[in-house]
């Protein structure tokens, strides 16, 4: 959250060109993401289909990772970031098929890592209720990933829409949208999160709303700046002379041209959102028990495990969440480096 303004230059970034077959990649992404999203968000309503649902996502993740590494191989920072992120996505997708203990079943409380108790070997020990830490850590990444990415995506849709309107239509639209953006931006992020989640109640969908309120104004500013620049290009004038509607120009002429520069920003923002979700859950405003989640694991252990012997209960989720965020940030760093070199 330290970064309030990201340095995105107006030049379009030909990052997408590195991905030789965009349609295949989008298809694979959908195959990976949609089952995972349905699984985490609507798992309750799906019933028996749950067992086979994530099967198509599993090969899609692997292929996507290989394609990604090939596309970004010139920057080891980006590859390292991609590896970290995909490691957790892979864990999220395969969690139901791994030979793990039930993450919510209490077995043997306060078992330290690498010990055997009740004929079960605990790699990472158990928490204060006796639930297996390894299984909770792996299952925990599902919720963080799905809600984090969804929240960021929604924030981008809202922010981009308002940014395009403010930048392209200008005038009163710009004044009003910019003022509202300024109001939201001058709230400290935490006040905004706390007030919104306290008002709506803590849940995943409400986190999406809170993150949208917190992130969309900053995205709006970036897109607005880009739109102001692109608006003066000849192809926009050409479209205006053809008599295209404002909506059509925004979607067809402006949107594809602001897409490049905001990709790097999106990676960084995925990192912030992950931080925000973990932090909010830690403060008791986010995802609710009993399902495993890293922020929740920290919150629950912070009250019970303040001893050197049991510190693994805190360290394991802390390192997991750090590695995921490090992945997003390194990816963003590598992408920026590559885009500057082009």
């Amino acid at each position: 959250m330290a970064v309030t303004e990201t340095e995105v230059d107006v030049r379009s970034v030909p990052l997408l060109k590195r991905l030789t077959e965009p349609k295949v990649i989008i298809g694979l992404f959908v195959a990976m993401w949609v089952p995972l999203m349905l699984y985490v968000m609507f798992g309750k309503y799906i019933g028996n289909a749950k067992d086979i649902m994530l099967l198509p996502a599993y090969p899609a993740t692997v292929i996507l990772y290989i394609l990604g590494v090939r596309a970004f191989r010139e920057s080891w920072v980006a590859v390292l970031g991609l590896t970290l992120v995909f490691f957790w996505i892979f864990m999220a997708v395969t969690a139901p098929y791994l030979p793990l203990l039930d993450p919510n079943k209490p077995i043997a409380p306060f078992t330290v890592p690498f010990t055997e108790k009740r004929d079960i070997f605990f790699w990472l020990g158990t928490d204060f209720k006796g639930r297996d830490m390894l299984s909770r850590t792996i299952w925990g990444c599902q919720r963080v990933l799905v809600w984090g990415v969804t929240a960021t995506a929604v924030a981008y849709v809202v922010g981009t829409a308002f940014g395009l309107i403010a930048g392209y239509l200008s005038g009163w639209w710009d004044e009003i949208i910019s003022f509202l953006g300024n109001v939201l931006l001058s709230f400290p992020v935490m006040v905004l999160f706390i007030v919104i989640l306290n008002y709506l109640g803590p849940s995943g969908f409400n986190i999406v709303i809170a993150v949208t309120f917190a992130s969309a104004p900053a995205i709006m500013r970036i897109v607005r700046g880009l739109a102001l620049d692109i608006k003066t290009r000849d192809y926009v004038f050409a479209a205006q002379t053809r008599g295209e509607s404002a909506f059509w120009i925004m979607v067809v002429e402006l949107l594809p041209n602001v897409r490049g520069p905001i990709i790097v920003d999106a990676c960084l923002r995925l990192g912030y959102t992950t931080v925000a979700i973990t932090t909010l859950t830690f403060l008791g405003l986010g995802l609710q028990p009993p399902d495993p989640d890293w922020g929740l694991m920290i919150k629950e252990s912070a009250g019970t495990a303040m001893l050197w012997k049991f510190s693994y209960m805190l360290i394991v989720p802390a390192l997991s969440v750090s590695s995921l965020i490090l992945g997003f940030n390194l990816l963003a760093d590598g992408l920026r480096e590559m885009s500057l070199r082009d």
Partner: protein
Amino acid sequence: MFKLIGRRLIQMVLIMLTASFILFVIFDTPEFKKRLAIQELGGFAVSALDETTYNEWLEKKGLNVPFYQRYFNWMGNTLTGDFGFSYEKNRDAGPLVWEKLANTGILALGVFGLMIPISLILGVLAGMKEASLQDRAVSFISVFFTSIPEVATAIILTVVFALGLGWFPTKSAMISGFSFHELILPVLTLVVYDFGYVARMTRASMAEVMTSQYIRTAVLKGIPYSRVILRHALRNALIAPFTVIVLQLNWLLSGVVVVEVFFEYDGFGKLLLEAALFPDIEVVQACTLVAVAVAVISQIISDVGYTFLNPRIRFG
């Protein structure tokens, strides 16, 4: 320039009005009133209350007054310096907020005192020679530490220094008066999270200065390299980080929430979270006004300071 400052201040007042209005609307909903009643009378008592007794309670608390009237009352009181009353802590909100803000100020002083030298030195070292080993190392260290969220940093530091080595206490509640010892872990946590960002900004600024004509001229004139760096480059390279550092004040006010809650440090962030959860409306309002003021004023300081440091920039 005064025009600019004036415009900013007017904007600040507008933002404060909008923000406080939104907060008032949110906290005026029946659910929030009910939650306040539950906090004060207990859950069982509220569910057992009939309509008239509940209304009497609302009247006693002054919560049944129409919304706009309460808002205007609150606004009038605020203008005269009365920030209202904390239901939770049972005392005036104004002094309460100032007291906690002072505690957070001590924390902030520690953070800035440690972060500024570290990040400036690292940033300058990295920016001196672009793409050198030290540049890559500093960049990686910055990204690495900024990627660890404050909760995780707090945990790792606590586990290593408090639980493992036993050098510092795990909590910083400071029950028996101020203690420098207890301040160290929260300060370190915030510094570890924040220094990377400032270091990267310093690096970018330094790298840009090093490519400029006058540095090349100075080097070609045969001035010793250390003198070129210290006398010629640094002066110009430190202008941009100055603005970034001032803007960190704003980040700090929301960044401290987690750290203060984790270490139980009795500051602004903890007060804000507790007040919002209670729901202690007037304390939340006061905190928000303070936060907005800090945000806008730090923005003004950074803009004005920038023009003083960099004479090439002038406000039109």
